[in-house]
């Protein structure tokens, strides 16, 4: 990468207290970078640790090990309540109901971070009202929205309010934690367009977290695939989605239904080819976290933890069998040839 990254996360580990005094490692040694103006998509299933990464960066999850650097300087790993506020990082949450204070007007909610920053910098709060009006207009809310309460808005409009609150302080990085997942398809489209428009205008970076591959593919420049707290694969959005290298990425892609019954039938067959008899999930440690579900797993996968290996221009994959796997060109390769080439590897 030519430019210095805006956000650089190295060897990040997050532990949560688990049952019987054991600690549960939600995020395990994750590296990631976000360049200025770039969108990094983080995709994974529930329990993959994608939201925990966001929380660790924001300072609302306990960081066990690793560093988070923002604009070159290391962030205080302590909880946000105890550290100096960083207004250059903002967040848009999934739940548009809980993320807005029902007892405050929309104008107050949107102005609050700006006023808080101006107060800290001992600046005047003179034209806050004008800036709020501009921002509300920018996210497509009616003029009188500022004096109304969140309950009077629909889910999509509330998400616009949350976006206005995040952008009012002109942040450099916005963390979108499943920001469009709770929305209807047509509203989701409007919000995704809004997010890309604002990014183009203001040059902000996104850390975009979602479980929806089609959304991730649409908004992201680069993609990070997580499974059980570890990075499985990373690379440009196009390369990860079109030629996934890690077996897990392939399973994930094959499971997402396409909007076409014929192609979906092919995808279903592809998915069936990955399916194996379920084995109990291996304890995390010195094994590939996906080995128990992997059609291509060999003994080594259960004994040795795979490291990220570079794949192409800027991609990397954590798989022992990288290079040995048959290509996964869905919809093109006849099913028979695939099953014969992969039969022996089981």
């Amino acid at each position: 990468m030519k430019t210095d990254p805006l956000l650089q996360v190295e060897r990040l580990c997050v532990d949560y207290p688990g049952r019987r005094r054991q600690r549960f490692r939600a995020v395990d040694s994750v590296d990631l970078t976000v360049a200025p103006g770039e969108t990094l998509g983080v995709v994974g299933e529930s329990g993959s640790g994608k939201s925990t990464i966001a929380k660790a960066i924001l300072g609302i999850a306990p960081v066990t090990a690793g560093t988070v650097r923002f604009e070159g300087s290391e962030l205080d790993p302590r909880r946000v309540r105890r550290r100096k506020p960083i207004t250059d990082i903002q967040v848009v949450f999934q739940d548009p109901v809980s993320s807005l204070d029902p007892t405050k007007t929309v104008g107050y909610t949107v102005a609050e971070p700006l006023v808080a920053r101006l107060r800290r910098e001992r600046g005047g709060t003179g034209d806050v009202r004008r800036q709020v009006a501009e921002m509300l207009d920018r996210v497509g809310l009616p003029e009188n929205a500022a004096s109304r309460y969140p309950a009077q808005f629909s889910g999509g409009q509330r998400q616009r309010i949350a976006i206005a609150r995040a952008f009012i302080v002109r942040p450099r990085l916005v963390v979108c934690d499943e920001a469009v997942s709770a929305l209807d398809l047509s509203v989701q489209a409007q919000i995704l367009n809004l997010l890309t428009d604002v990014q183009r205008e203001l040059g902000v970076s996104y850390l975009f977290i979602s479980h929806d591959l089609s959304v991730i593919e649409h908004v992201s420049d680069r993609v990070l695939v997580l499974y059980r707290g570890r990075v499985m694969e990373t690379g440009s959005a196009a390369s990860v989605v079109q030629s996934p290298q890690h077996p897990y990425t392939r399973v994930l892609l094959a499971a997402a239904p396409v909007h076409d019954p014929l192609r979906q039938r092919q995808r279903r067959e592809l998915r069936a080819s990955y399916r194996i008899e379920p084995r109990g999930a291996a304890p995390l440690g010195d094994s590939c976290p996906f080995a128990h579900r992997c059609r291509f797993a060999v003994d080594r996968c259960f004994q040795e933890r795979p490291v990220l290996r570079p794949t192409g221009v800027d991609g990397a994959v954590a798989c022992h069998r990288y290079g040995e796997l048959p290509p996964d060109a869905e919809d093109d390769i006849p099913r028979e040839s695939r099953s014969t080439t992969t039969e022996g590897s089981k």
């Binding site: 398809l185 367009n193 649409h218 239904p257 909007h259 076409d260």
Partner: protein, 642 residues
């Protein structure tokens, strides 16, 4: 789950901008209560000026006189004017209440808020102290305080406030704990507000309702306790005027003159009532302020039936719905479903597609007779296997439900009682539908769990619902649904809450169960991918109407309604990388705002003046395809040329 239509946003929220006091006064209850309290407080405060007599002056010529021109409320056994004593006595009573409530708030507010918000050591210490305080006998402490401080009612009331604060503190702590989990509190922390600012601005308002209610109740209780203390002459010693003392005087001569009890008794009762009511009114009004504005429901023309004759249900179908309308109860009913119609053949999978508020869940629930309590079918027919079911009562429906028609929902965990093991939950359904008991029921339950491809069903049967994953829970819910070998399974967003890999497995399972048992499925979903995966037929709904019915293959290639096309295009999957998504402008109209003409017209790029003039009829295009669009020929023609 059913979401009732959101109230439409009202352009100008007047209630939002008026002050709390004005809103309280505007409600009739509030006006009466406030007026009573203001008069009482003013009268007591100005007692030295307005009381007709000295409260201690004895008029021995008019002992126990009863109400008269000279003594409005009468006199007591020493000839003292009751009204004057009442007013003077009220001063100490009301002041005492104020002292106790202020003390209560000073102690309970900060400790409760900080204990809830900060948690940790402070919380633990505060809670232990509160427990100790709660275990102390209040009356004994008050008696001790009164004797130490020489019958000073002020010190007694402050002590009472401190003792009462542990209860309020726990209530506030609970509310603050809940508020701490809200994302807006996290957002406030992230924007760099200090802890004090977060607590005051975002946590405190959440606790306000509880605080107001508790404080007003406490005021009422305090008045009672204080009256009790003065009744026992533990407060200011006689002959000083106190309400409790007046009650005591009256009680001693109750047999000769009952009237004397009325003025102090009524005043005390009314004041206690007023405190309680005031709390209610203030809480209601302050919550109303930022609740959604109640939508003005205007009377709307309901859509006229689309064809000349009443559409007849198909007799050769498993399920045939015709002209089904559902509306809310009440004086001004709100139509939620408008002349919905579709068919399901045996063994077929029909996708009911639409966004929230389209009425798809309402349709599914109307079919199975589980409409929410405030909704009812106003017209139309639902014919299941040749016999109409729309008018069946709940008992008759119970014979169908679980046996011939079954249902699974988006939240499988909600369907599983957390206090029973999976095995007994499934066996319970088996007992109900098959009438078998004991080991046979258990064996059938295991068989059902095996049918839904749960590995090691015996082990899973021994687990509790919280010990299994969401995907497993959905499998158990499916096992319970197919226990009665239903001919129709209604699946309401069965995979929406699941991961894609689990969703794929559940859809595979539904497909294989369907093939084995020739079971029809009505699949309610908003996900086109799910439709493409399992459905043979699609029914698209928009704003309470069916806008398109088509075979699943055709709907993706050549949608026959502009809404279907727009919805497909608004998916990022159908958008080329780097291009903007073709989002639909505007939003779905709420039932209050359904127009007379085409409900999609205002967002449609094909709309013409004719589209908004009247109800749009359903057009039969070809091979069972239906579209509710006047311009369907242009739409399909344009698509074909492309």
């Amino acid at each position: 789950m059913t979401t009732l239509p959101e109230p439409a946003p009202r352009p100008a929220a007047n209630a939002a901008n008026t002050g709390l006091v004005r809103s309280v006064l505007r409600s009739p209850r509030g006006a009466i209560v406030v007026a009573f309290l203001v008069v009482l407080i003013l009268a007591c405060a100005l007692a030295p000026l307005i009381a007709p007599y000295d409260p201690l002056a004895q008029h021995l010529s008019a002992v126990r006189s009863g109400p008269s021109g000279g003594y409005w409320l009468g006199t007591d056994s020493l000839g003292r004017d009751l009204l004057s004593r009442l007013l003077h006595g009220g001063r100490s009573s009301l002041l005492g209440v104020l002292e106790a409530v202020v003390t209560l708030l000073i102690v309970a507010l900060p400790t409760g808020l900080l204990a809830g918000y900060l948690g940790g050591t402070f919380d633990r210490i505060a809670m232990r102290v509160a427990e100790v305080v709660m275990s102390v006998p209040v009356v004994i402490i008050l008696l001790a305080v009164l004797s130490i401080f020489n019958h000073s009612m002020t010190s007694a009331m402050i002590a009472f406030g401190v003792l009462g604060s542990s209860g309020l503190m726990r209530v506030i702590r609970g509310a603050a704990l809940t508020a701490r989990e809200e994302l807006y509190v996290t957002a406030a922390e992230l924007m760099g507000l200090s802890r004090l600012q977060v607590v005051v601005r975002h946590v405190l308002p959440r606790c306000r309702g509880a605080i107001i209610i508790q404080a007003s109740l406490f005021a009422a209780v305090t008045l009672g306790v204080q009256t009790g203390l003065t009744f026992l002459s533990l407060g200011p010693p006689p002959p000083a005027a106190t309400w409790g003392g007046m009650v005591a005087d009256a009680a001693s001569v109750f047999n000769q003159d009952a009237w004397m009890l009325v003025p102090p008794g009524a005043t005390i009762a009314l004041t206690v009532l007023a405190f309680g009511l005031l709390g209610d009114v203030v809480r209601d009004v302050s919550a109303e302020k930022y609740a959604a504005a109640p939508a003005s429901r205007r009377k709307r023309r309901t859509g006229t039936p689309e064809t000349a004759g009443r559409p007849e249900p198909a007799t050769d179908m498993l399920l045939s719905v015709r002209d089904l309308s559902v509306a809310t109860d009440g004086e001004r009913p709100l139509t939620l479903l408008d002349a919905v119609g579709f068919d399901i053949a045996a063994g077929e999978t029909v996708g009911l597609v639409g966004e929230s508020g389209s009425g798809k869940t309402m349709t599914a629930r109307a079919v199975i007779g589980l409409l929410p309590g405030n909704c009812q079918i106003t017209s139309g027919r639902v014919v299941f296997d040749g016999s109409p079911v729309q008018d069946l009562d709940q008992r008759a429906f119970r014979k169908l439900r679980g046996r011939r028609i079954a249902m699974i929902s988006q939240e499988p965990m909600a369907a599983l009682d957390p206090s029973f093991r999976i095995g007994s939950l499934v066996a319970e359904v088996v007992r109900a539908v098959d009438g078998i008991k004991g080991k046979a029921a258990h064996a059938r339950a295991i068989e059902l769990l095996r049918m839904v491809e749960i590995p090691d069903p015996e082990a899973v049967a021994r687990r509790f619902p919280h010990q299994i994953s969401g995907g497993m829970a959905q499998r158990v819910a499916i096992a319970m649904a197919i226990a009665g070998r239903p001919e129709l399974l209604i699946a309401d967003e069965p995979t929406t809450a699941l991961d894609v890999t689990v969703q794929a497995e559940i859809l595979d399972l539904l497909r294989s169960l369907q093939q084995q048992n020739n079971m029809a499925i009505l699949l309610v979903t908003h996900d086109w991918g799910v439709v493409a995966d399992v459905c043979t037929k699609v029914v698209v709904m928009y704003a309470g109407q069916v806008v398109e019915t088509a075979p699943a293959g055709a709907v993706f290639d050549r949608p026959a309604h502009p809404y279907t096309r727009a919805l497909l295009l608004s998916s990022p999957e159908n958008t080329h990388i780097g291009e903007r998504i073709q989002a639909i402008p505007g939003s779905v109209p709420t039932p209050q705002r359904w127009p007379a003409g085409c409900r999609f017209a205002s967002r449609c790029d094909l709309a013409q003046p004719g589209c908004t003039e009247g109800a749009i009829p359903v057009k039969d295009i070809s091979e069972g395809r239906l579209s509710r669009c006047l311009r369907v020929d242009t739409l399909l023609g344009g698509e074909a040329r492309r």
